[in-house]
Amino acid sequence: MPPTELSDLVGIEHSKLGYFHELQLKLEELKAANMETENRRQEIAAILDGITDVMMVLSENLKIISVNHVFRELFDDPAPEGKYCYQIFRGQDHPCPECPAFKSLSTNTVCKETAFFRINGVNRQYEMVASPIKNQDLPEYKVLIFKRDVTLEKEYQAKYYHAEKMATVGVLATGVAHEVNNPLMAISGYAEGIQRRLGRHWKSLPGELAGDLEEYTQTILRECQRCQQIVNSMLNFGHPEATTQSPVNINDVVMETLHLLHYHLKKRQNLTMRTELARNLPFVHGNAAQLKQVFLNLLTNAIDAIGEEEGVITVQSGVTDGMVRLEISDTGQGISADIRGNLFDPFFTTKPAGNGIGIGLSTCYTIVVKEHAGDIRLESEVGKGSTFIVDLPVPREEDDD
């Protein structure tokens, strides 16, 4: 320790030490750290914003801790935090049975599950992924839930399967039609031949025989013509790729559809089919094959609605409010009010499992509303029957140019 000198006491070079320098350094450090944190935060925020799935962080008992922007867009709730997940998604007071959160927490693994939710009046199918958030530092476990809307995906998938099936049926039908066409031609040709010969030899034949033969061949020809029509219907059905629209006579489409169902209808003795088709119906601009699919669906539904009971199906066509209207009514069980809203949703079905996948009416809706700018709706009374009403626009004169 050097001895203290007078100059030490004056201490020109010594000042009261302050924290300024340290403070300045600290400030710089903090600024840099803050900037880094902010950058990282923005990066993470951008990543999170880029996620298009519904995202929620839930507590162990499924209370919502935080949600992402997709959630907020989906639900009109300004403060979902603190509410229960099942409250918001299902409006119920207990967790959903298919919830993957519990399994995820108990097994500490990522778990997946799909489920239907009715959100804003629309049925939606969600694929749910639950990842546990477990950390010693956290006072309690949490779980991260992703919900991806797979409704369209599943719908397209089902449509694809259906279309593929129909295409296969179409190919088969075309083949069958061609195969049947040739013998049909031969039968009708020979039947006509018999008739020609019969005309020439009418006098030489015993009176009763000639009359009988004439009647038989008439029947053969009539039935052949009917077969021809069925074959034509099948050939038309077999070419669904022809989606171009052209002027279509709805009455013709209805008749062709009824021909397709003729055999089916004949088996059901309890059913009475009435057709009240308006004459001079204007042409609509559309795709005959697609419209046939619509009518086929509606008629099949009507047949199913009547079931084994006695019943009447009425097909009525006409012009209402400048639209071509086709009404298909049945005297079946009717459709209760609470499910009427769901009727045109994909996957909605009232038929027992195995009898339908619920794609019919949603496809009809797509064809009529989306492809033909028309309208399809239902009037129904439980116990009395239902009427499906299809309106199709008539092209205005100038549109034809």
Binding site: M1, T4, E5, L6, D8, L9, V10, G11, I12, H14, S15, K16, L17, G18, Y19, E22
Partner: protein, 380 residues
């Protein structure tokens, strides 16, 4: 010495200025105050007053009162531990030289760590101290404005002088109302302490025109006000004394002291004598000893004490010293060293230690321990 320096804290003074203590602490960033004082101030109610003021400003405080007269090194360590444990941020000290020096020592350890003995001498403090607000309760020690801190090393029986600009507090609050609750003896001892500061700093080797101005004014005010302050507790006189003490403090903090304080520190280290009681005993002898080297200044001091007169500086100086002794006698203070020490055997040891004291450096007359012994013997 051409280049000089003058460093002082912010000084807030006046009757009732103690009310500002909480606002000052808040301005210095206080969240939890470390408050140092002693039993005497507890009894007079000033400790509660300060705690009330802090409480009224929602400022929590940790109170530390383990401070004795002539604060000890272990007390300082204890205080620093408490400060750290309680996570305090601003130090407030209320009292005479002892609590204030203890607070400075605690601040030193808080900012720098280590043992208080590590900082003995000049400019050994390398890290900043927490903000300090000092409130002197006596008009004498000058610690509230000075860069000095005197702590007793119990083992070595030495009063260590720690000198650093960092020991100058941030704010000094001088409220003369505090003097009212002091008894006459303490007011007297403090005033004489201030007088000793003023006289020694006036003739110090490091005295500058600025420090001399303050020394001069301090002597003048003390001479004029000491009697009414001590005998009548005259409010105005007490106020003047507090100004004198502050001026003397500013002067000695920047100019340094002399052998009187060297001996007083040494003696206090060994015998735990009240600092203020040493000065009336030794001051006249030290003035006589130094007179040869600073006759002119001593003459000026003499004229302040004894009044203007037409005579040589030497005569004026001697007249002043005589007058001072008369004053001490009239105030009834002890003037003989034999009343402070049991016998003369320890004088040599006292003087050998004293000559090592930093204060000896600035004494106007070069001196050896033998010279100091001569002074002590004269005062016996």
């Amino acid at each position: 010495m051409v280049i000089t320096k003058f460093a002082i804290p912010e000084v807030i003074s006046g009757h009732g200025s103690i009310e500002f203590v909480a606002k000052c602490a808040l301005r210095l960033g206080a969240k939890r105050v470390f408050f140092v004082s002693d039993n005497g101030l507890e009894q007079s109610g000033w400790v509660d007053r300060v705690l009330d003021i802090l409480d009224g400003n929602d400022l929590p405080a940790v109170y530390f009162d383990k401070v004795s007269s002539n604060p000890r090194d272990y007390q300082v360590h204890e205080g620093a531990d408490l400060y750290a444990r309680e996570r305090c941020d601003v130090i407030i000290a209320l009292g005479g030289g002892s609590p204030m020096d203890a607070a400075k020592g605690i601040g030193t350890l808080v900012g720098n760590g280590g043992r208080i003995g590590d900082f003995e001498g000049a400019n050994r403090i390398m890290c900043p101290l927490p903000p300090m607000i000092l409130i002197p309760s006596t008009a004498g020690s000058g610690s509230d404005v000075s860069q000095f801190c005197i702590i007793t090393d119990v083992e070595r029986e030495v009063k260590m002088s720690i000198i650093s600009r960092s020991l100058v507090p941030n704010i000094s609050i001088i409220d003369p109302d505090l003097l009212l609750s002091k008894d006459a003896d303490l007011i007297l001892a403090s005033a004489i302490d201030a007088m000793a500061h003023a006289v020694e700093s006036y003739v110090s080797k490091l005295a500058t025109p600025i420090t001399r101005m303050h020394s001069h004014k301090a002597i003048e005010l003390i001479v004029k006000n000491i009697q009414p302050a001590v005998e009548d507790k005259d409010t105005e006189a007490l106020r003047q004394l507090s100004i004198a003490s502050t001026s003397a403090g500013m002067a000695f903090s920047n100019a340094g002291l002399g052998v009187l304080h060297s001996i007083a520190h040494s003696l206090g280290g060994m015998y735990d004598v009240l600092h203020g009681m040493v000065h009336p005993v030794l001051l006249p002898s030290v003035m006589r000893f130094n007179m040869r080297e600073c006759t002119e200044t001593m003459g000026t001091i003499g004229r302040i004490i004894a009044g203007a007169r037409l005579c040589s500086d030497q005569q004026a100086a001697l007249a002043g010293i005589d007058k001072l002794e008369e004053l001490f006698a009239s105030l009834g203070v002890n003037q003989r060293l034999r009343d402070l020490l049991p016998d003369q055997s320890s004088i040599e040891q006292i003087c050998r230690v004293a000559i090592q004291d930093v204060c000896s450096l600035t004494n106007p007359r070069e001196s050896s321990w033998r010279d100091l012994r001569g002074i002590c013997e004269e005062a016996w």
